[in-house]
Structures are given as structure tokens and as C-alpha cells.
């Protein structure tokens, strides 16, 4: 049986997403694929404790990378927006590190830096170039009548969403990073 669940995770929520997918598997739903931004397609399965891990490769993964990950016992599930999803039954993980993709803080911090560079900064640029300039144009009376109302509401909503996302993700990524640097 197939079922789609809706759940929204930002680029800074990957650790929560991993836990949620693991929890779903213990409920008897294994991840098949996902459709951005928030649709997770599951297939019913035997409930099992399976560890889910995500790596951000931004479509730069090589066949060598995929081979190495699978050598370490990870099953490749799916790719979405540059994120790769892997899973491994917890019974097969020989140690805590064996249940993780990254075993030292240096590589955990590297992941955060990559996400900030390739996902957070582009978000800020879109915000400044499109949302802010659109909002300012509207406020300066570029449009009139129905269009003025429409664009005010449109850009106003986008403004709120973008400000929230940028502030939320910025703080959360910084938190993850400091968790792994201040040990």
C-alpha cells in the first residue's frame, strides 16, 4: 500500500527529518520517494528500527561516492533538491558511528557550511533581488487598481515567508554548527 504524508522541513531541519523518517519506519512506513517541497511517499512495510541519514551533495555525487556509501551498508533511497537519502537497519550498525554518515565534527560542520553556501545564500539573493525589489516597486506605485492590490498582497506574503525562512534557517544552521565546534 502506498501513502503520501505531508510534512514541511526547511534546509536546516535535516536532523529532525532523519528522526521523523526513522519514526515512520517503526510505524510500518518506509520512504519510497519525495516530491518537493513537502510530499513524502511511503510504502507499507514491516515495522522496524531503521536509521535514516541525509547528505547534501547538490547533484555532485559521483559513482565512486555512491559505491562507498553502499560499501558501508547504506541503502540509497532517493534524491531530492540536492539531498540524498540513505537508510540502514539499526541492527546492522555495529557502533554509534556506524549508524551515522559522519564520524567526526569536522565533516559534520562541513555539511552545514555546504548547505549555507549552496542553499541559504541563494535564498537571501532571491529575497533581495525579487521580493524586496517587487515590494518596493509596488509601494512606489508602479501598479494601479487591481494589480496594485494583487502585487501588494503577493509580495507582502512573500516578504513575510522569506524573512521567516532566512532568519529561522540562519539561526538553526548556526546552532548545529556551534554544537559541533564547541565540544
Amino acid at each position: 500500500m502506498l501513502k503520501t504524508f505531508i510534512r514541511f522541513f526547511t534546509i536546516a531541519d535535516y536532523e529532525d527529518e532523519e528522526l521523523w523518517l526513522r519514526y515512520k519506519h517503526t510505524e510500518g512506513w518506509k520512504l519510497v520517494s519525495m516530491t518537493p517541497p513537502c510530499f513524502y511517499h511511503f510504502e507499507s512495510c514491516e515495522p522496524e528500527d531503521v536509521i535514516y541519514r541525509m547528505d547534501f551533495k547538490n547533484n555532485t555525487q559521483t559513482p565512486e561516492y555512491m559505491q562507498m556509501i553502499s560499501d558501508f551498508g547504506w541503502e540509497y533511497v532517493n534524491e531530492s533538491l540536492g539531498w540524498l537519502y540513505f537508510r540502514k537497519p539499526s541492527s546492522e550498525a555495529e557502533s554509534e558511528e556506524d549508524g551515522e554518515l559522519f564520524s567526526d565534527d569536522e565533516s559534520r560542520v562541513d555539511l552545514v557550511i555546504q548547505v549555507a553556501k549552496k542553499r541559504l545564500w541563494p535564498l537571501v539573493i532571491v529575497f533581495l533581488c525579487c521580493v524586496m525589489s517587487g515590494l518596493l516597486n509596488t509601494m512606489n506605485g508602479l501598479y494601479s487598481g487591481f494589480y496594485e492590490k494583487f502585487f501588494t498582497i503577493f509580495f507582502g506574503t512573500m516578504f513575510v515567508i522569506y524573512v521567516f525562512l532566512i532568519v529561522y534557517c540562519g539561526f538553526k544552521l548556526r546552532n548545529i554548527k556551534s554544537r559541533y565546534t564547541n565540544k
Binding site: Q67, M68, D71, F72, S95, E100, L101, F102, E106, S107
Partner: protein
């Protein structure tokens, strides 16, 4: 030797040291992790993502070089620069060890 490379890698992380140490002979990522597990009695595990990231970085910095491919797995080996860095690190650890035992390292 390149001072910048030396600053980055000496001292190095425990994972980094074992990876360089194992690459005195051609080896691929998974092979290294198995060897490290054996050498440390299972005390040190290097995960897949960390292994891949470290190998990529070391290759880019010229410490190791691609040797040959075996079933889609790339095997690497130390370069002369890598050997030099490993030698420096071993000397540093030996000094650390002797001092920790209270021996005079300049004797």
C-alpha cells in the same frame, strides 16, 4: 614543503592519521575503514561520509593520489608529499609519547 599544507595537517585528527597510515599501500575507502577497525580493536570507526570527504580533501591537497579502479572503487596511495606529512606526524606523536612517559626527548 608547502607550509600551508603542513599547517593544515600537522597535527591531524585521529581519523586523518589512520587514513594516511593505511594508504602506504593502495587501498579504497571501505578497505581503510575495515583496517582501522582492526588496528584499533573497534575503538575508532570512520563513517562513510567522513571517509569520502577526507579522501577527496587529501587528494585535492596532493597527499594521496588515485592508483587504479576496482569494481567502481577507487584505490588511493600516498604521494611523496603525503609520505612526508605522515613522517612529520609520526615524529610528533613519538615525541608526545616519550614526554608522556616522562622521558627526556632531547636526550
Amino acid at each position: 614543503m608547502d607550509d600551508k599544507i603542513k599547517r593544515i595537517y600537522v597535527p591531524m585528527t585521529e581519523s586523518g592519521f589512520y587514513i594516511l597510515f593505511c594508504l602506504q599501500k593502495p587501498q579504497h575507502g571501505y578497505g581503510i575503514s575495515q583496517q582501522v577497525k582492526k588496528m584499533t580493536g573497534g575503538q575508532l570507526t570512520i563513517s562513510a561520509g567522513t571517509m569520502y570527504g577526507t579522501l577527496s580533501k587529501m587528494e585535492k591537497d596532493g597527499l594521496i593520489a588515485f592508483c587504479y579502479e576496482e569494481d567502481k572503487r577507487k584505490l588511493y596511495q600516498l604521494t611523496d608529499l603525503g609520505r612526508e606529512i605522515l613522517e612529520l606526524e609520526i615524529r610528533r606523536i613519538e615525541r608526545l609519547y616519550r614526554n608522556s612517559k616522562g622521558e627526556d626527548c632531547n636526550a
